[in-house]
């Protein structure tokens, strides 16, 4: 049941609607896209793509117009593409904004196919995605001369212990996908090595500690080394897992220059988050991590006057972007979690038929007005 021809609003599909102890970026991206569309005088429909029926973003008022369950990426590209095609048949998606690390390789691989279907994306290349992975992170220094903490990948305990002269304690022991622990002694390092190897596989990453002040930057690269926009922030409060639960935008010309230079070297296409440390030892900035999608705090960019998710939608559509306004320094965000009352009807629809449309009645009315199907 599609909206009548000639009245089709811009339809944007967004993933990452989960929220356990740390919310996914989907809801803030959707809020930003709605704000951007409203400011531009454009009608927008949001299609929420979820991996779990209880993802809270599906149920929040004013967020999604329709919601669908997607197969996990581990079920294979064919399953993902097939499901997306079926949803597209219903929704006529114009732009897809993925927001989760695990789904990016699949969507990047099928970018051309999606474009052929009329679904536009603005994503990095697979090589860029691999290069910023934790396992290959030091290649950023070797290939692109980007300043990163010294690190090595190790595949056994012998290699780990042999590193102590090159990387003295304390050191970070990191899983290749997630988690990092600070090891102060060889015993701790060995214990963390086994824990991470068991959970995430090999290799395990060993990285020097750069002591200093951490800044996170939400940025959009144009794919040619240019920086479409960037908003840096300092975390004001953290969860017990070190995630930002509050932050403030900052203005540091050296940080700005480092971000611009890093983007020029990476030539990143699409949204990302740079985690940067300003070292107390030498005052220089070090790139700690590149997250290849919008972070959950990305709505701060809207609050600071530089709507980066809306910019990505426009870039995906090939629209010309003027220069984005400078962001407002000193813009704060504080996160809150609240209990929302949800519709059992939506939950029933998601779990039985895998999707729902909130505006189905409005679409049916519009169809009736133009003499559509009366069945």
């Amino acid at each position: 049941m599609k909206p009548p021809a000639g009245r089709k609003p811009l339809t944007v599909a967004v993933t990452g609607l989960n929220a356990t102890d740390s919310p996914g970026p989907g809801v803030p991206v959707i809020r930003a896209v709605r704000d951007g569309a409203a400011a531009a005088g454009r009608e927008v429909r949001i299609v929420g793509l979820a991996y779990e029926p209880l993802d809270p973003g599906l149920y929040m008022p004013g967020i999604v117009d329709s919601g669908y369950l997607m197969p996990f990426p581990s079920q294979g590209d064919e399953a993902v593409l097939g499901r997306l095609a079926a949803i597209h048949e219903e929704e006529s998606i114009d732009v897809l904004v993925p927001t989760l690390d695990s789904e990016l390789p699949a969507f990047i691989k099928m970018e051309a196919e999606l474009r052929g279907m009329g679904i536009h994306t603005f994503l990095p290349t697979n090589e860029q995605l691999r290069l910023r992975s934790k396992a290959r992170f030091n290649a950023l220094a070797e290939l692109h001369a980007i300043r990163v903490p010294r690190g090595r990948t190790v595949t056994d305990v012998g290699e780990l212990h042999a590193l102590h002269t090159e990387l003295p304690y304390p050191i970070y022991i990191k899983g290749q996908f997630y988690e990092a622990y600070l090891a102060r002694t060889p015993y701790e390092a060995e214990a963390y090595f086994h824990k991470l190897a068991a959970k995430w596989g090999l290799p395990v990453i060993v990285q020097e500690v750069v002591d200093g002040d951490e800044y996170d930057v939400v940025a959009v690269g144009d794919g040619h080394g240019g920086l479409t926009g960037a908003v840096p922030m300092r975390k004001l409060q953290l969860t017990d897992k070190g995630k930002a639960w509050g932050g403030v935008t900052v203005a540091d010309p050296q940080l700005d220059a480092f971000v611009k230079d890093t983007m020029a070297r990476l030539a990143w296409r699409g949204p990302c988050e740079f985690e940067v440390m300003r070292s107390k030892r030498d005052g220089l900035h070090y790139l700690l991590e590149v997250n290849p999608r919008f972070p959950a705090w990305c709505y701060l960019s809207v609050g600071a006057g530089q709507n980066l998710p809306w910019a990505v939608v426009q870039l995906a559509l090939g629209e010309e972007l003027g220069a984005l306004p400078p962001y407002r320094v000193g813009t704060m965000f504080l996160r809150h979690s609240f209990d929302q009352i949800c519709s059992m009807e939506d939950y029933a629809a998601i779990t039985t038929v895998g999707g729902f449309r909130r505006d189905a009645a409005a679409v049916a009315d519009a169809k009736a007005q133009v003499g559509g199907d009366r069945s």
């Binding site: 002040d213 800044y215 922030m233 300092r234 004001l236 932050g247 403030v248 935008t249 900052v250 203005a251 540091d252 010309p253 050296q254 300003r278 005052g283 320094v329 000193g330």
Partner: protein
């Protein structure tokens, strides 16, 4: 670390009359008492550290020795906070020599 382009580090600081200080370069915020607020405003306005104690003595009606200790402590705290060092001092002197208006 300098302030945003075109401003010195000190001039980039946002200091309210009630002593709320926001450092936009780091995102740090501080609460200053009335003496510290007066001292920082004076520094931002181009007063050199050496000239602070007589100002404090006159403003708060304390003897010069006490005022000197307060000013010295304040400068040490600024250094700890990363808001004063040799480079920032040079910036401030250059700004004063150029006769730039106080913010």
């Amino acid at each position: 670390m300098s302030g945003p382009e075109g401003t010195s580090r000190l001039q980039s600081l946002a200091l309210s009359e009630k002593g709320f200080l926001f450092d936009p370069a780091t995102g740090q915020t501080y609460s200053l008492n009335s003496t510290a607020t007066y001292l920082l405003k004076s520094l931002i306005g181009g007063v050199s550290p050496d000239a602070l104690s007589p100002l404090v003595s006159a403003r708060f009606d304390v003897d010069v020795e006490t005022a000197g200790r307060d000013a010295e402590q304040f400068m040490l705290q600024l250094r700890d906070m990363g808001l004063w060092d040799d480079r920032i001092e040079s910036e401030q002197k250059a700004a004063a020599a150029a006769g730039e208006p106080t913010p």
